[in-house]
Each structure stands twice: as C-alpha cells, then as structure tokens.
C-alpha cells in the first residue's frame, strides 16, 4: 500500500518528522483532539501501520511515531512524512446477556436510552461479578434502577 492510498476513515497529516523532547513526532492540527488532552489513533506511514498516540502540547498537537516505526518506514528526523490517521473505533455497545434481558423485561426496565458508556459500565460490572450471587445482585440493582426510571418516564408522559 502506498502512502497516497487512502482507506475509509483515514485523514492525512503531512509534515516533517521532528523531535519533541527526544521523541520523533509529527505536528498535527489540535482540532483532531477536540476537547481531549490526548487520544489514541490508528496510524500508517506508507504500509507501516501502528497504534499512535496524539498529545496536546501548549501550541499544537503531536502524533508520536515510535522509533521502531521510524526504522520500519525508513524515516528520520527532518524527513517529510505523510501520516494517515484514523480515530480509534468507538466502543462497541455490549450485547445484553439473556439473564439481564429477562430481568429487565420482566420489570419493564429500559436501558436502551442509556449512552453507550453507561450501558457498557453496567454490563461490565455484571460481567465481572465474582460469583453468581453477586451477578444476581448487580442484575437486580440494574433492573430496579431503570424500572424506576421507566415508571417515572411513564408518569411524566401521562401527566403531559
């Protein structure tokens, strides 16, 4: 794959490989960080793919290029670099296990309105329960929490 070939979701950052402290890096627009201080990226120089780290400095953002990537891609400090970057794929919304789904359904509890992060948090905590009893108690807590929320939403719908 050549450096000029674009894949879906990539965007191109071009600049010279520079030293930031003693690290090889390429300057990038701060806009790629949005409101974060740092972020992980999927990156590619030519055919060399790597997991990169973009970091906010006072006046710019930099994408750090690991030394082994520099060696593999044959680039050195001062060389022009075409860096294709792609945001890490967003968290996958975890599937709801059958026992959780049964419990939610039986109580008319709804977690579909939760953000992906909130839903993942709840399901992770259920998945990581150390025993069946703790799993059951966490499922019960999740069900009770959102059964109450569903009931409240129903009440508000009826009163409006």
């Amino acid at each position: 794959m050549s450096a000029s070939e674009r894949t879906r979701g990539d965007s191109l950052v071009q600049g010279r490989l520079r030293r930031v402290g003693n690290l090889p890096a390429v300057a990038a627009p701060t806009g790629i960080l949005a409101d974060r201080g740092a972020a992980r990226l999927r990156a590619r120089i030519g055919a060399v793919k790597f997991r990169a780290y973009v970091y906010r400095l006072p006046d710019m953002a930099v994408v750090v290029v690991p030394l082994e990537v520099c060696a593999a891609a044959g680039v050195r400090t001062g060389d022009p670099v075409s860096l294709w970057i792609e945001a890490e794929r967003p968290d996958h919304p975890m599937a709801v296990p059958a026992d959780v789904s049964d419990s939610l359904t039986s109580a008319r509890a709804d977690i579909t309105t939760l953000t992906t992060r909130e839903r993942r948090q709840s399901l992770w905590l259920i998945r990581e329960a150390a025993s069946p009893a703790i799993r059951a108690s966490r499922i019960e807590a999740l069900t009770a929490a959102y059964a109450a929320e569903t009931a409240e939403a129903d009440r508000q719908d009826q009163s409006s």
Partner: protein
C-alpha cells in the same frame, strides 16, 4: 431536586462549616445537569465567592435531577452563577496529569482504562486516552512527552510521582512495575517519592524489596469500605480483608515507608466504619484519602448507603472524621483529592496551600 444557596447557608450554619466547603461538597455529591456528550468532566473552576482559588474537580455531568447546571462557562445553582469554568474536558483516562502547581505527577503507567469492576469507580464510564505501556522504553518515552509538554529539561524538580494504574492483581508484578518506574524516572532526574494506589502489596517481603529498590515510597492502600466488599469491589480488591489493612499499613511504616488508605464515604453508614477507622488511624503517616461517593447514574445510586444522596450525610461524616483525626496532627492536602470532604477548612482550622 430544589436546592438554593440559602439552603446551603443553613446547612453550613447547622454543621458549623464554611459555606464554600458546603457548596463544593454539594456539587460533588449531586453532580450537574448539562448538555455535554460525556458523563463526567475534568474541570478547572473558580467559585464566584473565592475567585482567587482555582479548583480542580471531576464532576458527573448527566445528573438530570441535580440542582446544579453546567451552562456554557458557568456552573449555576438555580438562578445563581456559583462558579466559572476555566477548563472542561472529557474525564478520560490519560497518561498522567500534574497537581500541586506542577510539582506532583499522577501517572497512569499501567492502562488504568482497562481496570474495571468496582461499582464506585467512574473508570468504566470514561473514555480511554491512555497509551498501553508495557516496558521501560515506553515509560521513558512518556516522560519525554511530559517534559516536552511542560517545557522541562528533566523531572528533577518533581516532589512526588503517584501511580494510579490498572490493577496488578498480584504482588510480584506490582513490585516489578514499581522498579521499572523508579528506573525510568531516575533516567529523567527524578529522586523524589513514588506513591502507589494499590490493594495487592501486603507482605513483609514486598515492603522490604520496595524499601530497598523503590523508596522513598508512599503506600496508599485502596481499601474503600468495610462492608459489602464482595458486592461493591472487584474481586482482587475485595480479597483485601478489613482486618489486614491495619497490619499492612503498620508493616509499611516499619520499613520507613509512608502509608495511608483510601475510603469512599457514602458506600456504607459511617457509624459502622468509625471503630475500624479509629484502629487504622495510628498506622498512617498521611491523612487518609476520604472521597465522596459520586453516583453518576441510577445504577450507581443503588449502591449508596441510606441517606448518602443528601449533602447532610457527607457534612455529618466530615464532622465525625474530624473528631477522629483532629488529634493526629494529620490534615488533608488541599491539592491531592478531586472529591474531598474538606476544601478551605478542617475542624476550626483554615486549610491553605496549593489547590491545583
């Protein structure tokens, strides 16, 4: 929920605590409504009533029933603006950040974003912006990044580096990691204290090796609560038994290490913890890290102690903890805790010092 500045002033009067501490406690307990895309923010704010004191906090932002609201660059309580926001970021797991005016580094050197399983912890709600580090070279690279960010030639002026990392589950990998961190930091000129939040360092052998190869060292035992531990905590942390905590802290102290613990106020009625906390008091060299339990959503609310959804619960806890620790001479740092019970005063004393 309706809550006004007048209500907070009445609480302040009732508990004989300054109003700004009550306001900050309320904000931390109740979170805020907002239009943010993320459930929790890392913020730098200034209270309107204390414009000279910047504060950092991590605030739940998706609390639809909170009386606080984040609107633009302001935090409002009802019709009143109570604080101005100078910085607001997604509270994602980062490589590290600085406290105490840049003299203390909190370092996430082992993928904190991968550490999940404790009910009270917002980690699994946060995005992951921390790089995965596995070896010494990576750590050294990260320190180089931080030096570049700060415009420093090295890290020799830092007083402390505190590791808030993913769990190591066992003692040996934790010690090996600490040795790596000390070695990498030494290459960057750091000779100060390494602090470590952990529940897995326990034995004499561990303390001895740390005293020999890592010290100066501060053990911050992540204890969190006395009761219901299996339900609330991840398995590796729940394995630390309440009866072990005092002896572990004493052991660390006997090897010349600093020692203290974390405790989440709001997971259990404080009355049932006071006897246990009193037993730990003599084995700590630094004031314990007492944190307000922040429920970010209805699921987390289910694990709060009865009454722990009220500001009064935490003000009462504060008074009880003050009575327990006032004679020790130990006091909370003004810079080290993002959700503390104390801000500008402890008992009848003024708390001064760096706040960010």
């Amino acid at each position: 929920m309706v809550l006004t500045l007048k209500d907070l002033a009445e609480l302040a009067n009732q508990f004989r605590i300054n109003t700004d501490d009550v306001l900050m406690t309320a904000m931390n307990v109740l979170g805020a409504r907002s239009g943010a895309r993320y459930p929790r923010a890392r913020m730098l704010i200034r209270l309107r009533s204390r414009p000279d004191d910047p504060l950092r906090l991590g605030l739940p932002l998706a609390r639809d029933h909170s009386p606080f609201e984040v609107r633009g660059d302001e935090i409002r309580l009802g019709d009143e603006t109570v604080a101005d926001i100078e910085m607001c970021q997604d509270d994602d797991a980062l490589l590290g950040y600085f406290r105490k005016e840049g003299r203390v580094l909190t370092l996430n050197s082992n993928a904190r974003s991968q550490c999940t399983g404790c009910i009270f912890c917002p980690n699994s709600l946060e995005g992951a912006s921390d790089p995965r580090l596995s070896a010494l070279d990576d750590l050294s690279m990260c320190f180089s990044l931080m030096e570049a960010e700060q415009g420093w030639s090295d890290m020799s002026h830092l007083e402390e580096v505190n590791l808030a990392t993913g769990c190591f589950h066992e003692e040996q990998p934790a010690i090996t990691h600490l040795q790596f961190v000390r070695q990498a930091l030494s290459q960057h000129g750091f000779t100060g204290q390494i602090g470590f939040l952990t529940s897995v360092l326990k034995t004499d052998q561990a303390m001895e090796r740390i005293a020999e190869t890592v010290a100066p060292f501060f053990l911050l035992l992540t204890f969190e609560c006395f009761t219901n531990r299996e339900s609330i905590l991840k398995h590796s942390k729940a394995a630390l038994q309440p009866g072990e905590v005092g002896p572990i802290l004493a052991r660390a102290k006997s090897y010349g290490l600093d020692s203290s613990f974390t405790y989440i106020v709001g997971l259990e009625p404080l009355e049932i913890a006071l006897d246990g906390l009193a037993k730990l008091r003599d084995n700590v060299t630094r004031f314990p890290n007492f944190q307000i339990y922040q429920a970010h959503n209805r699921f987390m609310e289910r694990f709060a102690a009865p009454g722990a959804d009220t500001v009064a619960f935490y003000l009462d806890a504060r008074k009880q903890l003050e009575r327990l620790f006032v004679d020790t001479g130990l006091r909370p740092d003004t810079w080290s805790n993002y959700r503390p019970l104390w801000y500008w005063s402890f008992a009848d004393e003024v708390l001064s010092g760096e706040r960010i």
